[in-house]
Amino acid sequence: MNLMTNILINVIIAFFIGSLLFGLQRKIMARIQGRPGPPIIQHILHTFKFFIKESAFPYTAAMPFYIAITAMLSMIWVAAVIVGPVTGGSLLLIFGIYAVHKIVEHNAGSSSGSPYGKLSCVRAVYSAAAEIPLFAVLVIIYFKTGTMNITGLINYQTVHGPLLYAIPLAALMFFVLIMSKAPYSPFAITKGKDIVSGYETEHFGLLRGYLMMSESIAWYMLLWVFLTVFLGPISIPVYLIGMIVMSSIIAFINATTPLLNPNHSIMMQVTFAFIGIVGSFALLMI
């Protein structure tokens, strides 16, 4: 297949599946809480709606930074799709993209001049401390397999079996990290409803559409990376089942857990990281 076609198809798949999984999450959460909930396609409808809405820009915003930051978010997650499913490139690069996502999340909030965005920005700085598991996961995977290449990791697991069994605590740390990116999660402090919509509060119309599209692709990519890195060579139906199962588990946790206070959220993630790092190194050395 032509490379450009391959990229385009993968980006479209990532957007639609990511959006449907977000919709599924909201549906499951609603049912657990005794509500009918929105239809599963609601997130897709929302995204398309924002693309045809009138765009407005706050007069307090830092221009053109305020607009560029949204474009950046879209570009980095399209790049992640290219590095991951399309080319099977460097895992380190995907984590680099995730780091840039943190920066964009932080500055999308502060660039508008809104106090809610600013609070989200300060929380994003705090929550950077919770990214320790991210780097620990990378180190543990490399020490176990000797490669940072996604294709190399798949080949390793073809021979040695899924990494999920070899380094389960690293998988747990990564799962907690994915959970922190889910809307309504106990760790989603940057988008807590106590600060309206956090960094998205002052993004309207087209810009909001791009933010929502990027978030759907980001969700798909995080699940894809988890399944690829910890389960190895799996077929497309298994990918789909894995993504649905993970999204459902996270929906269940989100529905039954309140949003944590920022300090508690960070400390909880750091505690998971400490247990994961010490335990994983102990397992590697045994």
């Binding site: 380190l92 990378l138 176990k144």
Partner: protein
């Protein structure tokens, strides 16, 4: 060019005397990202923060003064360029120099703000960054002593890891953590980020996280898998 770093093929190198820049898919992306953000920061205005007035119903607009804006923008551009350099350098000593430079300009970016709380946070950050320069350069020196080279390409081709290299790596990590103000030194940064000037704050955060990801790459090159 048949050199592989952490499973990725090197795309090319730029030799400038004893300074060698190299590009893999990872380094190239990080370098381009740092430059792109620097360009955006260079052309952007700052936001206006709207705060509620105490005891009244009015709003108060907090802006960045022109003189302050100019010096902070200049330092932000230097910070962006130093970060971009740290992404592609193939020399461990150059990497520590780039990291040190980002630490210095980051302090300058917030030190130019005329708010007591922000200046206090910048002062605390300055102390941490100054103290962190010892383990930063000490770590690089230990790795040089243990391997006989500062070239990352040479270190990558080694097949062993000695205890001295592990100690050097730990010191290097502590040094970078202090210079960039990441956990557990991040608390002062959150205070600094309450001030207006979003594009400048972006570059502080950008430099910290990108350098940290790059450091992970360097540490994995120094410390071989079990």
């Amino acid at each position: 060019m048949d050199i592989t770093i952490l499973g990725s093929q090197i795309i090319g190198i730029i030799p400038l005397g004893d300074i060698v820049f190299y590009f893999t898919q990872f380094n190239l992306f990080m370098f381009a990202t740092a430059l792109a953000f620097t360009a955006i920061v260079a052309i952007s205005k700052t936001e206006t923060q709207v705060e509620a007035e105490f005891g009244k119903l009015g709003d108060r607009a907090v802006t960045v003064a022109k003189k302050e804006f100019k010096i902070r923008r200049f330092l932000a551009i230097i910070c962006g360029l130093a970060t971009a350099g740290a992404m592609i350098t193939g020399d461990l000593f150059d990497f520590t120099l780039f990291v040190c430079l980002t630490g210095i300009v980051n302090i300058g970016i917030v030190g130019a703000v005329r708010q007591v709380d922000v200046l206090d946070a910048a002062y605390q950050y300055g102390l941490i960054a100054m103290m962190a320069s010892l383990p930063l350069f000490g770590g690089a020196a230990l790795i040089l002593a243990a391997t006989g080279t500062l070239s990352l390409l040479e270190i990558n081709s080694l097949t062993y890891t000695t205890p001295m290299m592990i100690l050097g790596s730990i010191l290097l990590f502590l040094g970078v953590a202090g210079e960039t103000g990441v956990a557990p030194f991040f608390a002062t940064k959150a205070e600094m980020f309450r001030t207006p000037g979003s594009p400048f704050l972006l570059i502080i955060h950008l430099s910290s996280l990108l350098i940290l990801v790059r450091l992970i790459e360097i540490l994995l090159m120094i410390n071989k898998p079990f």
